[in-house]
């Protein structure tokens, strides 16, 4: 039986699909009986989704760069 500590240690591999079939089953079995670990994993997923949705800093001087690249392309065409 997996401990909570081990479940946490393998949680990223679980989320990234890096565990073998057998390891996944062991992980799922633990989650089935452990509300704390289920909460941990649910909140890990929420944290991932939050990072995905965080606004990115806009590119500084995007117009100048676009202009330079378009000009460079025309020179090379």
């Amino acid at each position: 039986m997996l401990t909570c500590k081990e479940q946490v240690a393998r949680s990223s591999d679980y989320l990234d699909g890096q565990l073998s079939f057998r390891q996944r089953l062991i992980q799922r079995h633990h989650l089935l009986f452990c509300p704390n670990c289920r909460r941990f994993l649910r909140q890990m997923r929420l944290m991932q989704a939050t990072l995905r949705k965080m606004p990115e800093a806009p590119v500084a001087d995007i117009d100048a760069l676009a202009e330079r690249l378009a000009a460079e392309r025309k020179r090379n065409a």
Partner: protein, 204 residues
């Protein structure tokens, strides 16, 4: 972007349409910067991205569409970074820098049976939108992201924000899969600890 979008954008880029370049830069520069940042560090990342853009434009006609445009751009960026700064290439640093709110460390678990000693705190918010409405939490997350090592921060960004597969990250950054897994996991636990701290105390 789908392959069809790539093809359409490519035609406009080849025609030298400035608006198409703006779209290209807006869509992909963050990912390119994360790749450069991981390989050469913050000090040289901007130069590398500039180099990469010029190289992209000069080689545009040779893009065959065998990979996605994104993969092609990131490969060019990684190559610019590696060729320009080969001599300074640092070792893969797995050592952890301290993070503002720590991590989910061994002290959270019983040394006797490995069960939670301090169970994960239940967050109030249950969607990303709800979490991100708190301006202070957003700042707090940015702060924690900046506390990560250059490599760890980049790996997290490439995976979570840019959606790259682990194998793509390995190939771009020339690091092993096991190192990517370790870097990613440690970074996630630190971010988790920051959100947990904020949800528990209401403060950064």
């Amino acid at each position: 972007m789908s392959a069809a979008d790539d093809t359409q954008l490519l035609e406009r880029l080849l025609a030298g349409e400035q608006k198409a370049y703006k779209e290209l830069v807006g869509t992909y520069q963050s990912a390119m910067r994360a790749v450069a940042y991981a390989i050469v560090g913050q000090r040289h990342a901007d130069e590398v991205v500039q180099d990469a853009w010029l190289s992209v434009v000069r080689n545009l006609a040779g893009f065959q569409g065998r990979s996605s445009l994104k993969t092609w751009l990131l490969t060019i960026t990684a190559n610019s970074a590696k060729s320009r700064y080969k001599q300074n290439r640092r070792e893969v640093l797995l050592d952890d820098l301290p993070s503002p709110h720590g991590t989910i460390g061994d002290e959270r678990f019983s040394s006797a049976d490995g069960h939670w000693l301090v169970a994960p705190f239940a967050w109030h918010a249950d969607t990303p939108e709800a979490l991100l409405t708190e301006a202070e939490l957003r700042e707090c997350l940015e702060h924690t992201l900046l506390s990560l090592s250059e490599l760890q921060g980049s790996v997290l960004t490439l995976r979570e924000r840019q959606g790259l597969e682990l194998e793509e990250i390995c190939n771009l950054l020339d690091i092993s899969l096991s190192n990517v897994r370790v870097l990613l996991h440690r970074a996630r636990l630190k971010i988790f600890a920051t959100v947990e701290h904020f949800e528990e105390t209401g403060q950064c």
